[in-house]
Amino acid sequence: MTAVLAARGLATRLGGVWVLRDIDLAVERGEVVAVLGPSGGGKSTLLRAINYLTPFSAGEVEVAGHRLRPGMSERRDAALLRAVRRRVGMVFQHFHLFPHLSALDNVSAAPRRVLGLGAEAARARAHALLERVGLGGRAGAFPHALSGGQQQRVAIARALAMEPEVLLLDEPTSALDPRLVGEVLAVISDLAGGGQTMVVVTHELGFARRVAGRAVVLAGGRIVEEGAPARVLGAPQAAETRAFLGLR
């Protein structure tokens, strides 16, 4: 097994505060990692650091042989950043679908513009992916006409369209009505079953226990505990994990 994604000694300082410290995380191909922990623990910052949407201050990130380092600039290091980002899919808490494009165009835009696929090939790929997330019938709909759960499923399809080596999901169900959470989790479970490598920041502990191969607990910007989800959630060792789970 090889690591498709590795963070080594990652640290991020924002506004004078270390939001991430000494993060070492390697993700193997096909692995699903659940990132758990209290709010403000650095979970989202970790995901955003991996594709450099939030620059980090120390350490490095390696994806498919490309290494990101501190102090890079969007302008100067554009080629390197693009090389990493096209291999790392990102799903945001608030979807960030493109409101001026239909569901189909949201999904086909990156394959066309970034991978250079022809219009027909990109559309075919987008149709297949919408089908896969259960939205084959809504290809022509614009985001404002879709429910939150549907929007997030389009966003997942959009990320998958780049055939990423690893998919990062940042609290993908936190912005949804409770009754819509299930449909999105079902899609993610299905992806896991299909062997998609994923790092999921989530508060859905049952989902993490069921789907993830490994749980990582982040608190105060550090990884305080990691291991099999059943073990971490069932018999937490670190005080921070116990506090997060409401145990003493």
Binding site: L81, R85, M162
Partner: protein, 496 residues
């Protein structure tokens, strides 16, 4: 110029009501005591003219801005003295002297007003006080000998003048209209015109004084006379009589001699039997004039559309430079917006066309499109800025996370959304631009409003051309207003 869209609905009706109220109020001025009795009662003969016409007619005393000088000032004083009253000068735009006379702003017009059949039909004229020739002035280095040599060439003159009528009647000459007497000779020097036809006193003072210009020929002749309202018959008789007396006792000759204007032509005029003062009949609009209006409306549309295209593209470049550019570029774009937004577009047109002419000799049409376009670009840049501000940062992040380059993210994701926010404002600005395009008449482009003033002079009335002009503007802007409203309804919720 720009108003909040919510207020717009009532504006048209309000403007119509206001116009109706003004129209109703206007005749009230004319009811003031006029005619000879009014002049005697006031002890003042009010005479209208335009100091912009300049030397030697009427012009501001360079040493005392409140005083006017000129041969017509002296004629007015002589006439007033003979009527037993004081002369008082009233400043009025030359092109609108006749309507102002009718409104009762002054008692007589005494300002190089040529006796033409069209004017004869509208005002009453005294006997003439000056006989002029129409002087064709050209550049020294060109062998032009008469109007016949200027077929297909651009020839400048003043709107509403006899020279204008003369040029319009000359086949193959492209007539270019000016508002002042300095500018046509300036443009002749720079090669924008092949010739200028104006009355000889103007040509001598403003044209032939420039080295490099020469008199090619006298291409016509005519007379200046004093205009009086046709219903002021007693005043007409009194002023005509007083003028006759200044001719008889040599005072007029003395005045003209002092100003270097006495010549054989004047001697002939003084010796001739005075024509009887003429009382006007009337004039009616023709189909040809309607054609000119439609043509001018076409010019307005073309100038506005091209200027708007330039403004939309330029504004986009400015707003992107301000947001994403390096520091010097940002500063330059900001300075551009502030300068072009903070100075009058009229001034910008003057500077572009006349001021920059030695460095950048633009033709009038290009200067008009460029001037309006560059000015409006500053406003469009601000609209785009608001649009860019309205696009959440998550949109750029989502695009970058997919592997889009920064410029792709801007072009494919951010700008289309910003444009939707800006579009209603842009449509609104297009309407404003359509009306502001009337300003380009100052640099000789004949568009809708200019055509209206020309026709008004020809027709001896402002009401019909004015309403026709307004109707054409409305016909052009109303569909745009509808489009803007539809865009607002349809696009804004999508982007929200």
């Amino acid at each position: 110029m720009r108003e909040p869209s919510a207020k717009r609905a009532g504006t048209t009706r309000a403007a119509l009501t206001l116009a109706a109220a003004l129209a109703a109020a206007l005749p009230a001025r004319a009811l003031e005591p006029g005619d000879l009795a009014g002049v005697r009662a006031r002890g003042v003969l009010r005479w209208g003219g335009d100091v912009q016409g300049g030397e030697p007619y009427v012009f501001q005393d360079p040493h005392d801005g409140r005083r006017v000088l000129g041969f017509e000032v002296e004629i007015a004083a002589a006439l007033a003295r003979r009527l037993g009253v004081r002369a008082e000068f009233v400043q009025n735009d030359w092109q609108t002297l006749v309507p102002s006379l009718e409104r009762g702003d002054f008692d007589v017009i005494l300002n190089g007003l040529e006796v033409t059949p069209a004017r004869r039909a509208r005002v009453a004229f005294t006997r003439p006080y000056y006989a002029f020739s129409e002087a064709l002035v050209v550049r020294d280095d060109e062998g032009v000998r008469g109007l016949a040599d200027l077929r297909g060439a651009r020839v400048g003159t003043l709107g509403g003048s006899l020279a204008y009528d003369l040029l319009v009647a000359t086949p193959g000459v492209e007539v270019v209209l000016y508002e002042g007497v300095e500018e046509p000779y300036l443009d002749l020097e720079r090669g924008r015109l092949a010739g200028v036809v104006l009355d000889d006193p103007i040509a001598r003072r403003y044209g032939l004084a420039r080295p490099g210009l020469r008199l090619a020929a006298a291409v016509g002749e005519g007379e200046y006379a004093i205009a009086v309202r046709p219903d002021h018959r007693a005043l007409l008789a009194a002023v005509d009589g007083a003028l006759g007396a200044t001719v008889a006792d040599g005072e007029l000759r003395a005045i003209l001699t002092r100003w270097g204007l006495w010549n054989d032509r004047q001697a002939v005029l003084a010796a001739a039997a005075p024509p009887a003062p003429v009382v006007p009949t009337g004039g009616r609009p023709t189909l040809a004039q309607l054609g000119l209006f439609l043509r001018a409306a076409g010019v307005t549309v073309v100038v506005s559309a091209l200027a708007m295209a330039l403004a939309v593209a330029g504004g986009l470049a400015l707003s992107v430079a301000r947001r994403y550019g390096a520091r010097p570029l940002r500063a330059a774009a900001t300075a551009y917006v502030e300068v072009f937004r903070g100075t009058p577009v009229l001034l910008q047109l003057y500077v572009l066309y006349y001021g920059l002419a030695p460095l950048l000799p633009l033709d009038a049409f290009t200067a008009a499109v460029l001037g309006l376009g560059l000015n409006y670009a500053a406003y469009e840049a601000e609209l785009y800025r608001a649009g860019l501000d309205a696009v959440p940062s998550g949109q750029t992040e989502a695009a970058l996370a997919l592997g889009f380059s920064r410029s792709q993210a801007l072009r494919r994701i951010v700008l289309p959304q910003a444009l939707r926010v800006a579009l209603p404002g842009i449509a609104n600005d297009f309407i404003a631009l359509l009306k502001d395009s009337s300003l380009v008449s100052v640099i000789t482009v004949v568009e809708l409003t200019k055509q209206m003033t020309i026709t008004a002079v020809d027709l001896r009335g402002w009401l019909v051309p004015g309403l026709l002009c307004a109707a054409l503007y409305l016909a052009l802007s109303y569909p745009l207003a509808r489009l803007a409203r539809r865009l607002e309804r349809r696009l804004v919720p999508v982007a929200a």
